[in-house]
């Protein structure tokens, strides 16, 4: 026990003030590299896009230079039914993919945390989808989903003894988004899985031992030790997976381009189409800013709901 454990009875000494200052300085220095990099490479271009959103800038500079158009781009986007459909679609996607992906990732993490033979091999194999680049994933799943006689449909016919007809997974408005959910969850669950794996390491084994000695069953152990122990990890995984889900783009761009009938159109796909294909950069920037505020609101709500109540 040192003097610092007791309440201060006199003004801080000069030596102590010096130590406090240099501690503060160290903190700033430690924050500095990451902050500088993020400010330069993420914040600055993002702020720049605010400026572009207020102009009618084009992808390829024109002889007639771009000019200021105020909030016109925002008005145009907000009055476009395609934008609202994209927003609704990506919300639907998020609501479906977050529980599926995170649930499966947690299950796999729990399984792979146990002492199993060839555990490293399984950890490697089950992580393979996460290593595969999205374009390759899309080619593979595009083939699997092929209608009418792709592998998935053939398996479906086999399992139902030919009763269920082939499904046009990517071409039917009702199954298009669920199909995307399936392939997205397949590709990305690995990320959440290793975050959960890392989180599980922090839960002391002694707690499990004590519970087992007390006769607690597997489910009770899970509910009262694992879940609370994973609390911080869960908060992180839920918030991050939600944000990632709202940014859905690559698989849509490769496989469905927003179809059929806009049922898989997402906000980022809409933004890409407007900005890179139609070349209206100002409009695209407005879309990305609207998406930002929408997802920010959701993340703040999430953080509030999931906050530590102690």
């Amino acid at each position: 026990m040192t003097a610092e454990a007791f309440p201060r009875l006199s003004a801080p000494s000069a030596a102590r003030r010096k130590r406090l200052l240099s501690a503060r300085a160290q903190e700033i220095l430690m924050l500095a590299p990451a902050s500088a990099l993020i400010a330069a490479f993420l914040l600055t271009p993002f702020l720049l896009s605010f400026r572009i959103a207020l102009t009618n800038e084009r992808l390829i500079p024109r002889p007639v230079p771009a000019h200021f158009v105020g909030l016109e781009n925002f008005a145009q986007v907000l009055s476009d039914p395609t934008f609202w459909q994209a927003l609704w679609n990506v919300t639907r996607f998020t609501l479906m993919v977050v529980p599926v992906q995170c649930g499966f990732a947690l299950a796999m993490a729990l399984l792979l945390n146990q002492k199993l033979p060839w555990r490293n091999f399984f950890r490697g194999a089950l992580f393979l989808p996460a290593i595969t680049s999205m374009s390759v994933v899309c080619v593979i799943w595009g083939t699997l989903f092929q209608f009418p006689s792709g592998p998935l449909n053939q398996i479906l016919g086999f399992l139902t003894f030919g009763l269920a007809g082939p499904v046009d997974w990517l071409g039917n408005v009702n199954t298009s988004m669920p199909a995307i959910v399936l392939l997205s969850a397949w590709q990305a669950y690995g990320f959440q899985m290793i975050v959960f794996l890392a989180g599980l390491q922090n839960i002391p084994n002694e707690l499990y031992e004590a519970a087992r000695l007390d006769g607690a069953k597997t489910w009770a152990r899970f509910r009262h030790i694992t879940l609370p122990g994973l609390r911080q990890t869960n908060v992180f995984v839920l918030i991050i997976t939600t944000i990632q889900a709202f940014k859905l783009f690559t698989q849509i761009n490769i496989l469905t381009q927003g179809g059929p009938r806009g049922s898989t159109d997402t906000v980022v796909q809409y933004m890409y189409s407007v900005g890179f294909v139609d070349q209206r950069l100002g409009l695209a920037s407005a879309v990305s800013i609207l998406l930002f505020f929408f997802v920010l609101a959701i993340s703040l709500i999430q953080r509030f709901v999931l906050r530590d109540r102690q």
């Binding site: 009618n56 992808l59 390829i60 500079p61 024109r62 002889p63 007639v64 595009g142 083939t143 989903f145 092929q146 209608f147 009418p148 792709g150 046009d168 997974w169 990517l170 071409g171 469905t256 381009q257 927003g258 179809g259 059929p260 009938r261 189409s273 890179f276 294909v277 139609d278 070349q279």
Partner: protein, 433 residues
């Protein structure tokens, strides 16, 4: 200074020295040309070899190759323009020529390219490199492209369907629909035709492959005199064309988007005909051998129409040495090894002499009919600066029409969008009045 910085400085000094010495030694032309292009590995190899040979033949000149994957090609061009670092020689996708010329990036090729090369161009090649307002040639290419109708000879013969001998002999619109109907009930046929919807719902394939149907019906994506879309794109001809295509889809005659793009030659041949690009021949030929027969696209009206357009070369206005750039292009397009490379990868000819050397496309060859289209029916996509908007609007309209939407209202929506963009740019003078 960073290691990279030192490296850069060292290299720059060596280069400067070399340039200076080279200039002193030869005393003649010494240019440093930058060439921006895209291509698959074989093209990259063929082009780099040609560049090396040119450098040897012209000491003091260097060609710097900037290989840009075609995914974000336009974006890179835009970035280069903003950075005032446009390359000297630029490859571009034909439909974007008008956009680039209007934006002031390119200069006419006359006087820079060997005249005999210009004379060697097929009418299709000329049309895609020409800028309508001044009718000057801004781009040239060894290769071109087209779309033809593929079929199985055995299947057509067994169903007693006439096989056209050439472009003049093509099926008429009515004949074509009757044939589709016949095929729909033929044994083993799941879909009479594959329009390659499998390439995607938002892809350049849609205006590329389908606009000729509209043109053959007597309409167009945009009026090429007044350069406005309303009244043309949503006119009777286009509505009739797209209604016909919608009819085929509704009847279940067209391969759906999620069935992939290999149904023409997959086991059992579920698709009887294929509306495929010239590159499709190699795929089909591999599995079906000589049974593949290549037919001209049907003519739905008085005249038939076929697509064209590929990546062609232009010289930028800010080129450091336009004469040398032109010399390089003339050299490369006539270089034997360069031509052989493309011939071996079924490059579709844009130059008449190249066609004569390609067994595939020479008269009597399996793709001769397809090549005939380049002279007789090739119709370029609208060479207009607003092409990006035109293509996107048409892609959206066509996809919706395929899905059952009303053709008239979809085309009107698309036309309005195109005209709104034109108005946004004050008519793109000198295109608009």
């Amino acid at each position: 200074m960073t290691r990279e910085g030192k490296n850069l400085l060292a290299r720059a000094s060596v280069a400067a020295l070399a340039l200076a010495l080279g200039g002193l030694a030869s005393g003649a032309q010494a240019a440093n040309l930058k060439l921006m292009f895209q291509g698959d590995p074989f093209e990259i190899g063929v082009i780099s070899d040609a560049a090396k040979r040119f450098e040897q033949a012209n000491p003091g000149t260097t060609i710097e190759l900037v290989n840009t994957p075609h995914d974000v090609y336009n974006e890179k061009v835009g970035a280069a323009v903003s950075a005032k670092a446009l390359p000297d020689i630029l490859e571009l996708d034909a439909p974007f020529l008008a956009n680039y010329v209007w934006s002031g990036f390119l200069q006419p090729l006359s006087g820079l390219i060997d005249q005999k090369l210009i004379d060697d161009m097929t009418p299709s090649d000329v049309s895609q490199g020409t800028y309508p307002p001044d009718k000057k040639l801004y781009a040239i290419g060894l290769t071109d492209s087209t779309v033809a109708l593929y079929a199985s000879r055995k299947q057509l013969e067994s169903l007693k369907i006439r096989i056209p001998k050439g472009v003049d002999d093509a099926w008429t619109g009515d004949e074509f629909e009757a044939i589709l109907k016949t095929l729909s009930t033929a044994p083993g046929v799941k879909w009479p035709i594959d329009l390659f919807r499998g390439y995607g719902a938002k892809t350049e394939w849609i205006p590329y492959a389908y606009e000729p149907i509209l043109v053959s019906f007597g309409c167009d994506l945009i009026n090429r005199e007044t350069w406005r879309a309303s009244g043309t794109l949503d006119g009777k001809g286009c509505v009739a064309a797209t209604t016909a295509m919608q009819r085929w889809v509704k009847a279940g005659w067209v391969v759906p988007q999620s069935a992939g793009t290999n149904q023409f030659y997959a086991e059992g041949r579920p698709a009887a005909l294929a509306w495929g690009g010239h590159w499709f021949y190699a795929e089909a030929n591999k599995t079906m051998g000589d049974d593949v027969v290549v037919l001209p696209l049907p003519k739905f009206g008085a005249k038939g129409a076929s697509p064209n357009g590929t990546w062609i070369y232009a010289i930028s206005k800010t080129a450091s040495d336009s004469a040398m750039a032109g010399k390089f292009l003339s050299f490369m397009l006539q270089d034997k090894a360069y031509r052989d490379g493309y011939r071996d990868h079924s490059g579709f000819p844009g130059l008449k002499s190249f066609a004569a050397d390609s067994p595939l496309y020479a008269p009597g060859g399996p793709m001769a009919t397809a090549f005939e289209q380049a002279t007789k029916t090739a119709a370029p996509r609208p060479p207009h600066p607003g092409y990006p908007t035109i293509t996107l609007a048409f892609q959206v309209a066509m996809t919706n029409i395929f899905d059952g939407a009303d053709p008239q209202s979809e085309l009107t929506k698309a036309a309005k969008k195109i005209d709104a963009d034109i108005d946004d740019n004050d008519g793109y003078p000198p295109f608009g009045k």
